[in-house]
C-alpha cells in the first residue's frame, strides 16, 4: 500500500487525453441522436396495430435489449464484415452497437409513454376527423414524450458512459487514450482515475440539471 499520487504525467499528456475526449463527445452525439431518434420510430412501430409493424419492432427490441452492448460492438467489428461483406471500422462498429442498443431501450420508454396517454385523447383527435398519424403526431406524442423525458435523459447519461466500450475495438476515445498514456508512463492508477474524474465532472452537472427538469415537468402537469 501507500501509493504516491502523481498526476504530472497526466497533465503532460493532456493533448493525448483531449483527443480522446473529443472522440467521446463525437461518438456520444452520434449515438444519442440515432439511439433516441430511432427509438421513437421503433417505439411507435411497436405500438402499431398492424402486426407487420409491431412484430419486427418487437423482435428488434428483444434482440438488442437482451444481448450485451460490448458483445454487439465486438460482433459488428469482427463477425458482421465476414457475414455480410460490408466493411466496418471501429467507429462504425461502436456506433452500430451503442445506437441499436439505445434504440431498443428507448423504444420501450416511448411505448410506455404512448400507452400512458388516456384513450380519450385518441378519441378526441379521431372525432374531429384527424387520421391515426395526425393524432399520434399532434396529440399523443407531444404529451407522451414530455412525460418520459426524465427516463430519456437517464438513457442519454447511460449512452455517454457506454461510449467507453468503443475502446474495445480501438476507437479513439477517452478510455482508449488513457490506456495509451498508462502503457507509456506506467501510471495506470492516475490514468484511469483521470478518466473517471473526467466523466464525473461532465455528468454530475448534467444529472443535477435533469432533477431540475423533472421538477419543472411535474409543475407543468
Amino acid at each position: 500500500m501507500g501509493h504516491t499520487w502523481d498526476f504530472a504525467t497526466i497533465l503532460q499528456n493532456w493533448p493525448v487525453l483531449w483527443v480522446g475526449i473529443k472522440g467521446t463527445v463525437f461518438i456520444f452525439v452520434i449515438t444519442v441522436v440515432l439511439g433516441l431518434g430511432g427509438g421513437l420510430v421503433v417505439g411507435v412501430a411497436r405500438y402499431a396495430k398492424s402486426p407487420f409493424l409491431s412484430w419486427p419492432a418487437r423482435a428488434f427490441v428483444e434482440v438488442f435489449r437482451n444481448t450485451p452492448v460490448l458483445v454487439q460492438i465486438i460482433w459488428f467489428f469482427y463477425a458482421f464484415p465476414i457475414l455480410t461483406g460490408i466493411e466496418t471500422d471501429p467507429f462504425l462498429a461502436a456506433v452500430l452497437g451503442i445506437s441499436l442498443n439505445t434504440m431498443a431501450f428507448s423504444a420501450e420508454i416511448y411505448r410506455a409513454g404512448i400507452q400512458s396517454i388516456d384513450r380519450g385523447q385518441w378519441e378526441a383527435g379521431k372525432a374531429i376527423g384527424m387520421t391515426y398519424n395526425q393524432t399520434l403526431r399532434r396529440i399523443i406524442l407531444p404529451v407522451a414524450v414530455k412525460r418520459v423525458l426524465p427516463a430519456l435523459t437517464n438513457r442519454g447519461i447511460e449512452v455517454f458512459k457506454m461510449s467507453t466500450l468503443a475502446s474495445v475495438v480501438g476507437y479513439v476515445e477517452t478510455l482508449n487514450q488513457a490506456k495509451l498514456i498508462a502503457d507509456l508512463n506506467y501510471n495506470p492508477i492516475e490514468s484511469y482515475t483521470a478518466v473517471a474524474l473526467i466523466f464525473f465532472v461532465v455528468l454530475f452537472p448534467v444529472v443535477q440539471g435533469t432533477y431540475v427538469l423533472e421538477r419543472m415537468l411535474r409543475k407543468g402537469d
Partner: protein, 257 residues
C-alpha cells in the same frame, strides 16, 4: 325541415354480445333528439356508430342524403379517408371533455380547423374566437385546460366541435362527470345551440333538459328503440312498463313540489 341523418337497421356486436339489434332513425335538420335508456341499453354505442367511432356490424348511415361507405355483396365497406371526412362533418362532445392538455384553449379550437380542414390561420382564429364567444369563454382563450373548471372545459369542448361547422352534433353524457353546480352552464349552452337551429343527438340522464329542449325523445332498451315521441307526452305518459320503471327510478328522491 329536411332530413339530415338517417340510420337504417343499425346493428352492432362486440364479439358475442349484440348491443344494437336494429335501430332505424331519421333526424330532420334542426331537430334536437334526446336518447334515454339505462346503462347497457346501447345508447352510447348508437351515438358512436353515427360518426363511426365504432364501426357498425350491419346497417346503413346516410348524412345529408349520402350513403356512408360502399355496398359490396350486401356488406358495407368503408375507407378510412372517407370516415375521417365524415367525422369532420359531425361534432362530438364526450363525458370526460378530452381537451388536448398541451394546447391552450384557443389552440384546442384551432387544431381541427387547421389540420383537418386546412383553413388559413387567420380565418381559423377568427372562427375559434367566435365559437369561444358563443360558449362564453373568449376571455379564457390563452389559458391551458388544466386551469379551467369542469363546466368550462366542457364548453371549450363544445366550441372545439362547433368550430368545424358540423352538420350534426353528438353529445355523449356530457354532464355526467360534472359537479351538480356546473351542470347548468353546460345545459344552457346546449339549449342555446338547439334554439339556434343546430341538429343535435344527446345521450343524457337530464330528464329536465329532455323535457324542455328536445323535439323528440327516444327510449332505448336492450338494443332497440322501445318508445319514441314528443317529450311532453312520452316523459309524462310512457306506453311501456319498462320506460315507466326507468322514469320512476329517476324521480325516486325528487323534492316535493
Amino acid at each position: 325541415m329536411s332530413e339530415i341523418l338517417r340510420i337504417e337497421n343499425l346493428h352492432k356486436s362486440f364479439d358475442d354480445l349484440e348491443v344494437l339489434k336494429g335501430i332505424d332513425l331519421t333526424v330532420q335538420s334542426g331537430e334536437t333528439v334526446v336518447i334515454l335508456g339505462s346503462s347497457g341499453s346501447g345508447k352510447s354505442t348508437m351515438l358512436r356508430c353515427v360518426n363511426f367511432m365504432e364501426s357498425p356490424t350491419n346497417g346503413k348511415i346516410y348524412l345529408n342524403g349520402d350513403l356512408i361507405g360502399t355496398e359490396r355483396n350486401g356488406k358495407m365497406t368503408y375507407k378510412e379517408a372517407e370516415l375521417c371526412t365524415l367525422r369532420s362533418r359531425i361534432g362530438m362532445v364526450f363525458q370526460h371533455f378530452n381537451l388536448f392538455p398541451h394546447m391552450t384553449v384557443l389552440e384546442n379550437v384551432l387544431e381541427g380547423q387547421v389540420i383537418v380542414l386546412g383553413r388559413a390561420k387567420m380565418e381559423a382564429r377568427d372562427k375559434a374566437m367566435a365559437q369561444l364567444e358563443r360558449v362564453g369563454l373568449a376571455e379564457k382563450a390563452f389559458e391551458y385546460p388544466s386551469r379551467l373548471s369542469g363546466g368550462q372545459k366542457q364548453r371549450v369542448a363544445i366550441a372545439r366541435a362547433l368550430a368545424m361547422d358540423p352538420e350534426v352534433m353528438l353529445f355523449d353524457e356530457v354532464t355526467s362527470a360534472l359537479d351538480p353546480e356546473l351542470v347548468g352552464e353546460v345545459l344552457k349552452t346546449m339549449r342555446q345551440l338547439a334554439e339556434e337551429g343546430m341538429t343535435m343527438l344527446c345521450v343524457t340522464h337530464e330528464l329536465g333538459f329532455a323535457y324542455h329542449v328536445a323535439n323528440r325523445v327516444l327510449f332505448l332498451n336492450e338494443g332497440i328503440i322501445l318508445e319514441q315521441g314528443e317529450p311532453q307526452s312520452i316523459l309524462k305518459n310512457p306506453d311501456t312498463n319498462r320506460m315507466r320503471e326507468f322514469l320512476d327510478g329517476h324521480s325516486l328522491f325528487k323534492l316535493p313540489d
